[in-house]
């Protein structure tokens, strides 16, 4: 049916990556380049009294930038423009940037960073969501609240009186570091006449463009952002690169020289964004025959010291909080609160992993209360085609969660294992368990987001008949270059090798929107498909191409067109699929154009001596619409599952008064090759009418399921319900020893 789509074609930039030729920002160097560093606040909150430069360094050799050197506004433009590039008088979190230094010798720059002293008169600070909610100190606005949402369906207040079962629970998830292996980095060249040019590691070149436009008094076309090969993002290079690009550009602007700023790992971990910590309280009502009657969900996330992206993270978390279930009465009230931690930000999943963790743990508790297995209880409540989500979105897609569940449980041999483990665990020192999670993930920006973005993508044919894809969508490892080229090759009926994807450079490519929100394949893919069809029609209308043609005929048509009429380009702008409606005021309507649906099953063993949990097998089954590239798609799922296992079991950000104290790979532990199980990936491919060749989004989906699946498996193994992640061995020990002690006391041991 397809020539290129669905085939494991070679990754576009694969050869450069396996030979080490691929150029990341730190691999670039310019003559006369300075090295920039950042001096950061030692305190979580307070007034800057003084900045001291000890006399024993040759300060005349340095370029020094503080807030007063910023030629434009001292605000990093994002959704609201409240975060400063450099704190001027007051700091709101530890590690907040205050002074920038640049020197030709990077060792000197590093030495200087360590000796500059920022003297701060401390002010009382807030470090937990509880303290923020209790308004122990008001550190933001009138009540520490950055954003709230309320989603209502039916009337949840009426269900409690007549419900046979009411189950309450509280769930918590910790901060998580994106931990891309390439740290954040930028190089800038800037001057008043020439404007600002930045090369760097980033997901969203036009976010950086917008941010610099505010900080520098130059025309939009005098700001040029070029994405270098980017060593992983996971959301961590969505908004922070705007800050760092601004810093490098400020030093370049003042010094008149190219400035490179590359964070070391400790700085990257301590100062840049992480996943929002969360607390979810759920009260659920169910009937005796296992029907969900009501869900009352209170979802709170810790936004850190500035609003940045918290409102949209909260939005996605809120909408995903009710999961893939048909519940007639739902209330989700949510809040993002301010604390004096560095702002939390985008991380794959964007709020959804937090609220889905809570719901998928809670579904098991309700199932037990009702007296059904986790599988049977979910089966009775799955959302089906024609039914509505919590926001009132009618599901038009053909979705069959029961089938997905059956298939996933079969692949994982769930029923047999569950029974066998229950039998074998008796008296065993290593206890085994199996658990699963069922979930959905919306692709593209939430609600009206895509309409506001108005993304544009293009294609250009050269005289040699090569087609170049013009997008600002970035390749960050997930396969943008390859899948977009496949889509264009398919749409034009030409070879994959005839399509290329130039490096995103805002002076050459249109704004196809940020590379976030599982939108690149579904939304941008559709745009490049439309643009390609437009290009073909242009050639046909010019009389240069017949309806049916060979690759060679396409090449000669392009060549003739360019010779006769000049450059051959075609652009396409986003238009919402028909029938999509969203109301920002009531937060009701079609939250996403399409959802991906999934069932993940985890098998674990827990060592009752060391309290270590290992994940022994993992089945990830999903329907993401048409799979454009089977190898890259499976790679996305496997990587997301590994990150999700890290989120559940290993990755523990240790805080001390708003500062991450384990900002090292030595003691912030991500899964290694010996920690991950075999991850078995399966796709169902129900084509989505408005996606390119039927594709939906899949990048974020895989991080939603592993944590609840793993914790459900631990519950199966140990008979203890753990509602907080990351679940470190010491925490499990405390919980289990506590349970045993209580059991002994009450004589049931």
């Amino acid at each position: 049916m397809f020539q290129t789509v669905g085939k494991p074609v070679p990754r576009k930039e694969g050869r450069e990556k396996v030979t080490g030729e691929a150029k990341y920002v730190d691999d670039l160097s310019f003559p006369g380049m300075l090295h920039g560093v950042t001096v950061r606040s030692p305190a979580a909150r307070g007034r800057i009294r003084r900045i001291e430069f000890p006399v024993d360094l040759p300060w005349h050799e340095f370029t020094i930038v503080t807030a007063k050197d910023i030629p434009g506004e001292n605000r990093v433009a994002l959704i609201t423009d409240e975060q400063p590039y450099l704190a001027a008088e007051f700091v709101n979190h530890a590690e907040e940037p205050v002074v920038l230094l640049a020197h030709p010798d990077k060792h000197m720059a590093e030495k200087a960073r360590a000796v500059v002293r920022i003297d701060i008169e401390p002010a009382p600070a807030v470090f937990t969501m509880e303290a923020a909610l209790a308004q122990e100190q008001v550190i933001w606005g009138e009540d520490n609240v950055l954003k709230t949402f309320l989603v209502e369906k039916g009337n949840v207040d009426e269900v409690w009186a007549n419900a046979e079962h009411i189950v309450q629970g509280e769930y918590r998830t910790g901060a998580q570091e994106q931990l891309y292996i390439e740290t954040n980095g930028m190089i800038a060249i800037a001057s008043p006449p020439e404007g600002v040019t930045v090369w760097g590691s980033m997901q969203c070149p036009y976010y950086v463009h917008k941010a610099l436009l505010k900080a520098f008094p130059v025309a939009p076309d005098k700001i040029r952002i070029i994405q270098m090969e980017t060593g992983g993002g996971f959301g961590g290079k969505e908004e922070y690169p705007s800050m760092l690009a601004g810093h490098a550009a400020l030093l370049a602007w003042k010094s008149g020289k190219p400035v490179k700023m590359i964070y070391d790992r400790a700085e990257d971990m301590a100062a840049t964004t992480k996943r929002h910590p969360s607390r979810t309280r759920i009260r659920a009502a169910a009937s005796s025959d296992g029907k969900l009657l009501g869900l009352d969900i209170e979802f709170v996330i810790d936004g850190g010291a500035y609003p940045t992206l918290s409102s949209v993270v909260l939005s996605r978390g809120t909408i995903h909080a009710a999961g893939p279930y048909n519940c007639p009465n739902v209330r989700i009230s949510s809040k993002a609160v301010a604390t004096n931690a560095p702002p939390h930000g985008a991380f794959r999943g964007f709020g959804a992993p937090q609220s889905i963790f809570a719901l998928e743990r809670h579904m098991n508790q309700v199932a037990r209360a009702v007296g059904l297995t986790p599988a049977e209880f979910r089966r009775r409540n799955f959302l089906r085609t024609g039914e509505t989500t919590a926001t009132g979105q009618v599901i038009h897609e053909a979705v069959n969660l029961e089938h997905l569940l059956d298939r996933a449980l079969e692949h994982s041999d769930y029923h047999r294992k569950r029974e066998a483990f229950a039998r074998e665990n008796e008296g065993a020192s290593i206890k085994r368990g199996i658990g699963f999670a069922t979930f959905l993930h919306g692709a593209g920006f939430t609600g009206s987001g895509e309409r506001y973005l108005q993304s544009v993508a293009g294609v250009e044919a050269t005289t040699e008949g090569q087609v170049r894809i013009l997008v600002s969508s970035t390749e960050i490892g997930q396969g943008t270059n390859t899948i977009l080229a496949q889509i264009v090759a398919e749409a034009l009926g030409i070879g994959y090798d005839q399509v290329s994807v130039p490096r995103p450079d805002t002076s050459e490519v249109p704004n196809s929107g940020p590379t976030v929100a599982s939108r690149t394949c579904m939304v941008v893919g559709k745009l490049v498909e439309s643009a390609a069809i437009g290009l073909k029609l242009t050639l046909v209308k010019a009389g240069l191409l017949a309806e049916n043609y060979t690759s060679q005929e396409f090449v000669s048509a392009c060549s003739q067109y360019v010779a006769q009429f000049g450059p051959l380009k075609s652009f396409s702008q986003y238009q919402a699929p028909p029938g999509i409606y969203w109301d920002d005021d009531t937060y009701r309507g079609d939250a996403y154009g399409a959802f991906a649906w999934a069932v993940y099953v985890a098998e674990v063993s827990v060592d009752t001596l060391t309290y270590e949990t290992s994940v022994d097998d993992f089945v990830a089954l999903q329907d993401v619409g048409r799979v454009i590239h089977p190898v890259l798609a499976a790679g996305q799922i496997e990587g997301g599952v590994a990150q999700g296992i890290g989120f559940a079991l290993y990755e523990n950000v240790v805080w001390d008064r708003g500062r991450m104290v384990n900002a090292q790979m030595t003691n912030y532990i991500m899964p290694t090759s010996v920690d991950v199980p075999r991850i078995r990936v399966y796709f169902e491919e129900t084509p989505y009418e408005y996606g390119p060749m039927g594709a939906k989004g899949l990048g974020e989906l895989p991080i939603d399921g592993p944590a609840p699946a793993v914790l459900n498996a631990i519950e199966d193994a140990m008979g203890v319900s753990v509602n907080e992640i990351p679940l470190m061995p010491e925490r499990l020990m405390q919980l289990l020893v506590g349970t045993e002690a209580r059991a002994v006391e009450s004589g049931v041991a």
Binding site: V18, G232, R265, G477, A634, G635, T666, T672
Partner: protein, 159 residues
């Protein structure tokens, strides 16, 4: 501290460099020789992105003072392909999806080189253990395991 002259071989070519004895081998390779295929991921020997082979041993070049490399035979990612022809491991990483963002890939390939040197037909356990010092945040390692198995077969087949 004074700079000293240090000599060693990199990818078979004799090199001589004036450097501080405690400069990191990583920085000398990247900054003095422009061999930027070797990456820095953490600077503390945890992630393996800076892995190179020193006399056949896998070494974190961010932890090795350049003086210690004196007289040694160093192999970096730039020396893995022979005369423009990809090494079977490079072919396999590209084909199986073992490289996503690519930043861990050079180090991972060198770790895999050493692994296949020790165990030409490695077991799954040996692959996992052999790559445990090289972190990858993109792949969940599955496709990297596939790449090593595929390369092992290709090399055994004499291709």
């Amino acid at each position: 501290m004074r700079k000293v002259r240090i000599e060693f071989r990199v990818n078979g070519i004799e090199r001589s460099v004036e450097a501080y004895p405690m400069e990191r081998l990583l920085d000398v390779l990247r900054e003095k020789f422009g061999m930027t295929g070797t990456k820095e991921g953490c600077g503390e020997g945890e992630c393996g992105a800076c892995s190179v082979l020193v006399d056949g041993q896998l070494v974190n070049s961010c932890l090795m003072p350049v003086l210690q490399a004196s007289g040694c035979d160093i192999r970096t990612i730039e020396g893995v392909a022979a005369r423009g022809r990809l090494h079977p491991l490079q072919e396999a990483f590209a084909q199986t999806g073992g490289a996503q963002c690519g930043i861990c890939t050079p180090g991972m390939i060198l770790a895999a080189c050493q692994l296949l040197d020790r165990y030409p037909r490695p077991t799954d356990e040996q692959i996992r253990e052999g790559l445990a010092g090289n972190l990858c945040r993109c792949t969940g390692y599955q496709k990297i395991f596939d790449a090593v198995r595929q390369a092992s077969e290709a090399m055994a087949g004499g291709t």
